[in-house]
């Protein structure tokens, strides 16, 4: 139990914060209901995938500045391929785009390993490359998407046996998120590969000496990041119905959520749950600020303050803990 608390204390704290925020939300807007929660889940979706993409590489001791550009590229690719195509064609497009994300992520990793240029620089360069590629695919927002994909993240799932009142609080978007992340993350976390990813992030030298294939593991970590980013790109297209070649604000948001989620920049520590909860917290804060009709310029200040304050608080706790 003490092990659990020591390791998951931060995540538990974040959960508590999230619950407090939910309570605050219902106080601000007593009519806050399952529909609104569904909106939240849909808003979270692209951010969650972006943050998952970032988390994997940060745990592996790197950073990926090309996350948002990768989402833009995969999103425009999906949207332009599905534009005007049949509904079934989407069945082919989905895996294709995911594979593309995986491959481009692997390319990121390969470039880092081969050129030995620091990851932050390689992914910065790739940010421009992917952005350029997105512009070549679609030079303005556009494209389309199969209806069933759109439907996949709107509404709720009627689960037999559960009362409707409970069903209503299970938006499809949330389930899609949970399924996609769990299918990849849980087996990964338990596998040797997962351990290797933590190992190279924690100490590359020690990992190498423990027989971990450091280069291969790094490439795979970036490939997974690309895969999650591709999920994010698809999520964007699924929610907007189009592809937009200009990357959204997902890069900085993903870094911020990773840190808020208790994953140390520098690698080796943390998990995926924390950052995902952090995304929910950040989105819910945004909702509350809108509900409160706060001056929009002040919201930027508040969001910055929350980020700085929470991280400072975390730093303060660890300092106290060390003494």
């Amino acid at each position: 139990m003490s092990h659990f608390l020591r390791r998951q204390g931060w995540v538990v704290g974040l959960f508590a914060l999230l619950i407090v925020l939910f309570i605050a939300t219902t106080i601000i807007q007593p009519a806050y209901g399952s529909n609104d929660f569904g909106s939240l889940a849909r808003a979270v979706l692209p951010y969650a995938f972006a943050v998952a993409a970032q988390t994997v590489v940060v745990i592996a001791g790197g950073i990926d500045l090309s996350v948002a550009a990768m989402m833009a590229l995969t999103s425009v690719t999906a949207a332009s391929m599905m534009n005007g195509a049949s509904e079934e064609y989407a069945l082919f497009v989905m895996p294709f785009v995911l594979a593309m994300g995986f491959a481009l992520g692997a390319l990121n990793g390969l470039l880092i390993v081969v050129t030995r240029v620091p990851d932050i620089v390689v992914t910065l360069a790739m940010l421009f490359v992917l952005q350029g590629a997105a512009l070549l695919v679609l030079d303005a927002p556009g494209g389309g998407i199969a209806e069933w994909l759109k439907a996949l993240i709107s509404g709720t799932v009627p689960i037999p046996g559960l009362p409707d009142a409970v069903d209503a609080w299970l938006p499809k978007a949330l389930l899609v998120l949970i399924v996609c992340l769990c299918v990849i993350w849980i087996p990964l976390r338990r596998s040797r590969l997962g351990l290797s990813i933590y190992a190279i992030g924690s100490s590359e030298l020690a990992a190498f000496r423990s027989g971990v294939p450091v280069k291969r593991t790094r490439i795979i970590a970036y490939a997974l990041s690309g895969l999650f980013a591709a999920f994010g790109g698809l999520a964007l297209t699924m929610s907007t119905g189009i592809g937009a070649p200009i990357p959204g604000p997902y890069l900085l948001a993903s870094v911020a959520a990773v840190v808020l989620g208790g994953v140390a920049l520098g690698g080796g520590k943390g998990g995926l749950l924390g950052p995902i909860v952090a995304v929910f917290v950040l989105r819910l804060v945004r909702t509350d600020l809108t509900l409160l009709a706060i001056d929009p310029n002040v919201t930027a200040i508040i969001e910055g303050l929350i980020m700085v304050a929470v991280v400072m608080f975390g730093a303060f706790i660890t300092m106290r803990g060390r003494q």
Binding site: L111, T115, R116, V117, P118, I120, V121, V122, L124, A125, M126, L127, F128, V129, L130, Q131, G132, A133, A134, L135, L136, V137, D139, L252, V255, A256, V259, L265, G266, D295, N297, V298, T299, A300, I301, I302, E303, G304, L305, M307, V308, V311, M312, A315, F316, T318, M319
Partner: protein, 328 residues
């Protein structure tokens, strides 16, 4: 048995050249810069003239100063993403306050947010040990928000670019941009600080091994706070220079310079993990990026292809440079 030792005479020329470049990392950087200029000249014969050089320098200078902020913070293993916001705030306050205030007062008002943001960054990173990426990102968000609020209070009063700043930013004397009058001393000061002062030594040492510096009596928070304040003040000065160059205050004036400033420092050979690098390389890195931007602007190709090329060239330049320097 010791005959297996390598004797210096037998080293082939190619290796010697490489070793020379490795020992003087500036040489390959300058060569890269020259290559880019030559390519430019081939693509557009006649472009490399006095006026073009002056323009390139004018635009490279603000980038180089901001990259100086990155260089110094990166030496300690940090980064300062708030420089764009700080520069923008200083520029905006200067342009709006000069309307009703004495220039000296306007200058002080313009530098105040810079010092404040630097102080907060420094305390966050140095005392609370928040990761610099997050800390400076957070303060830049806060700064932007404050600037937007401030902006609304001065819409009515309008803005003006002080003549002196315009002269400094855009003027050219005997073919030399006036901005060099600010930049040359500033760059000399940075280079001197890094190489020959206690503070500079500490930046390298702290970035290399913070625990060791602590045992030697170094107070981390002091160094880091001083560093981030310095960085912010430099960014503020850049903002003033930049507003003189662009002559249009906007709420996102210097933001586009942030990522290139990081890239310039890295291309110039500063390690983002700390402890290694210098400012002269960074200056050339800034020039390389500026020339590269021009090069890509005049190429007739779709914007997407242009960006792809930009990314690839930055990657290639950094990789080639690392290859050369690591050959030791």
């Amino acid at each position: 048995m010791s005959t297996s030792a390598i004797s210096p005479q037998s080293v082939p020329f190619g290796r010697r050249l490489k070793r020379l470049m490795a020992d003087r990392p500036l040489i390959p950087l300058v060569i890269l810069l020259v290559i880019l200029v030559v390519i430019l000249q081939i693509l557009r014969p006649g472009i490399v003239n006095e006026r073009w050089i002056a323009n390139t320098i004018k635009f490279a200078i603000p980038l180089a100063i901001l990259a100086g902020c990155q260089t110094m913070t990166m030496l300690t293993g940090g980064i300062d993403l708030s420089v764009g916001t700080v520069a923008t705030i200083s520029a905006f306050i200067m342009a709006t306050q000069i309307v009703n205030q004495d220039p000296a007062v306007a200058f002080l008002l313009a530098m105040m947010p810079a010092v404040l943001i630097g102080l907060v960054n420094g305390i966050g990173v140095g005392v609370f040990r928040v990761h610099p990426l997050i800390m400076t990102l957070g303060t830049s968000l806060i700064g932007t928000g404050c600037l937007q609020v401030y902006q609304r209070t001065v819409i009515a009063s309008g803005a003006k670019i002080p003549d002196f700043l315009a002269w400094l930013g855009t003027g050219v004397t005997w073919g030399f941009p006036n901005a060099l009058l600010l930049f040359v001393p500033l760059a000399a000061l940075i280079v001197f600080t890094l190489a020959r002062t206690g503070f500079g030594r500490l930046l390298y040492a702290v970035g290399d091994n913070e625990r060791a510096t602590r045992l030697s009596g170094v107070q981390y928070w002091q160094v880091i706070t001083a560093l981030y304040i310095t960085s912010s003040v430099l960014a503020g000065i850049t903002g003033l220079l930049y507003i003189g160059l662009i002559k249009a205050p906007s709420l996102s004036l210097a933001e586009p310079l942030v990522l290139p400033s990081v890239a310039a420092a890295v291309i110039g050979g500063t390690s983002i993990f700390g402890g290694r690098g210098g400012y002269t390389g960074t200056i050339i890195g800034a020039l390389i990026l500026t020339v590269l931007t021009t090069l890509l602007t005049i190429l007739q190709m779709p914007e997407g292809a242009r960006r792809i090329l930009f990314g690839l060239i930055v990657l290639f330049v950094t990789a080639a440079y690392l290859r050369i320097v690591e050959e030791r």
